[in-house]
């Protein structure tokens, strides 16, 4: 299986690579549109700041490649947020695959949310084999509100979409690559889609 990890200077590429290695997979980190288009699975990681991340995607014209991908695509954290129409972070237009506006937590809660939180209302093959309300690792200041494409929810300041899916596009706000056995299960499920 060919797995492409989209390279746009995001911070957690190495962690995603290592997580896949622990599961017995190798992946290619690339900015090459052809390699991304021909991969069986595409992972769109993300740790960093939205406007500079979008600028880097535009510089390599990947902003036009990603929305047209046909194979399963998994956006992680900032990657998920950039799949949406707009994010409040740096007032940035995203890729527009999900008709959603990413917003910042209010100061009623500590920002960023850092730590392990539960996901509930699981509605996808991404969560196959996961029964109880599992804990996953989150690090973020912005979130996707509840939208029709929501496939998992989490409570912090409000209940928000901790995972979304539209056709072949999946987004998770948590870091499966850093979330112990449950995270590994979710990555495995994605690779088996």
């Amino acid at each position: 299986m060919e797995i492409a990890i989209i390279d746009y200077g995001a911070g957690n590429v190495q962690s995603v690579l290592f997580a896949l290695e622990r599961l017995g997979y190798t992946a290619r980190v690339t900015t090459d549109a052809k390699k991304i288009q021909s991969a069986d699975k595409v992972i769109f990681p993300g740790v960093g700041e939205a406007s500079s991340a979008m600028a880097r995607l535009k510089a390599t014209e990947l902003d036009r490649v990603i929305p047209k991908l046909q194979q399963p695509v998994l956006g992680i954290c900032l990657g998920m947020q950039l799949l949406c129409r707009h994010t409040e972070e740096g007032n940035t237009s995203g890729l527009g695959i999900f008709d959603a506006d990413v917003v910042r937590f209010s100061n009623q809660v500590k920002i960023p949310q850092i730590g392990w939180n539960t996901i509930t209302n699981l509605k996808s093959d991404l969560f196959r084999g996961i029964t109880a309300e599992p804990y996953l690792y989150f690090v973020h200041s912005y979130y996707v509100p509840l939208i029709p494409e929501c496939i998992a929810t989490t409570d912090y300041q409000a209940t928000f979409s901790s995972a979304i899916q539209k056709e072949n596009f999946y987004g998770v706000q948590f870091h499966p690559e850093k979330s112990g056995e449950v995270g590994a299960q979710i990555l495995t499920n994605f690779l088996r889609l």
Binding site: S15, F18, V47, G115, Y156, S179, G180, A184
Partner: protein, 252 residues
């Protein structure tokens, strides 16, 4: 619900884990990768590695260790100690660290945290602050607790969060290694003053100390070293007791 975090800390010297008392007198405490895996299995929520290697040419051992740890464990970890520049942080993140802690270098150049947050995002920049009571004032220290600065703790805490630090690691120097409990009164005050998660460090000796640091100190995470290294407090037992006290905690 977001859970409180239990964070074992590993002090690293020349690629080995060491443990000291109040920043002095070190003994060997094992292989960091082995320990990291054990902690992850036991249910640690996160790990912190503080490099206290004195000489610059030995720093390579740190990068190797960071890569080995990142390859081996599936929970997040922070690396700190001797982090001085944007280039240092970039390297540590590239080798697989999730977050980087900055201490003395930020005191020498407060703009450093701003530069780091802008470049890498505030979520991976941890402001590490060592402080202790001098008279009736909490003063910030640098150089591993050896050098008193002009800064008062609350002022400095506000400064680093204004500059974009996404998290704070507060070590109460006088509590560190004493095993007599965390600096809960100061922690609670700190919690009211800043709006980022706070990791409490210094003073863990018994399970009740952890209960207190969450209930009274309002900490978001508690860090400890020797009680975990020497298995005085097994993490699974600690977490069960915290749960019994209705403290939100992740049980593995």
């Amino acid at each position: 619900m977001i859970t409180k975090r239990i964070i074992p800390c590993l002090d690293i010297q020349n690629g080995r884990t060491v443990k000291g008392v109040q920043f002095q007198g070190l003994t060997d405490a094992g292989d960091p990768v082995e320990l990291a895996c054990k902690y992850a299995r036991d249910g640690a929520d996160e790990l912190v590695f503080l490099d206290i290697t004195a000489t610059e040419n030995k720093r390579k051992t740190l990068f190797t260790m960071v890569r080995d740890v990142a390859a081996a464990i599936d929970i997040p970890f922070t690396v700190g100690g001797g982090v001085r520049s944007v280039a240092d942080v970039e390297q540590l993140l590239q080798y697989g660290a999730d977050k980087v802690a900055v201490n003395s270098a930020a005191l020498e150049n407060p703009e450093l945290i701003r530069d780091l947050a802008k470049r890498f995002g505030c979520q991976c920049i941890v402001a590490a602050i060592d402080a202790k009571l001098v008279g009736d004032r909490w003063k910030v220290f640098q150089m591993g607790g050896k050098l008193e600065t002009e800064w008062e703790l609350l002022d400095w805490a506000k400064q680093v969060t204004d500059n974009g630090a996404g998290e704070m690691l507060f070590t109460a120097i006088d509590h560190d290694g004493r095993k007599q409990g965390f600096a809960n009164t100061m922690l609670a005050e700190l919690n009211k003053s800043v709006n980022v998660p706070i990791i409490a460090s210094g003073g863990a000796g018994k399970i009740a100390d952890f209960v207190a640091v969450f209930n009274r100190g309002k900490a978001d995470a508690a860090l400890a070293a020797s009680v975990f290294h020497y298995d005085t407090i097994p993490i699974p037992v600690l977490k069960q007791v915290l749960k019994q006290h209705d403290i939100p905690i992740r049980i593995v």
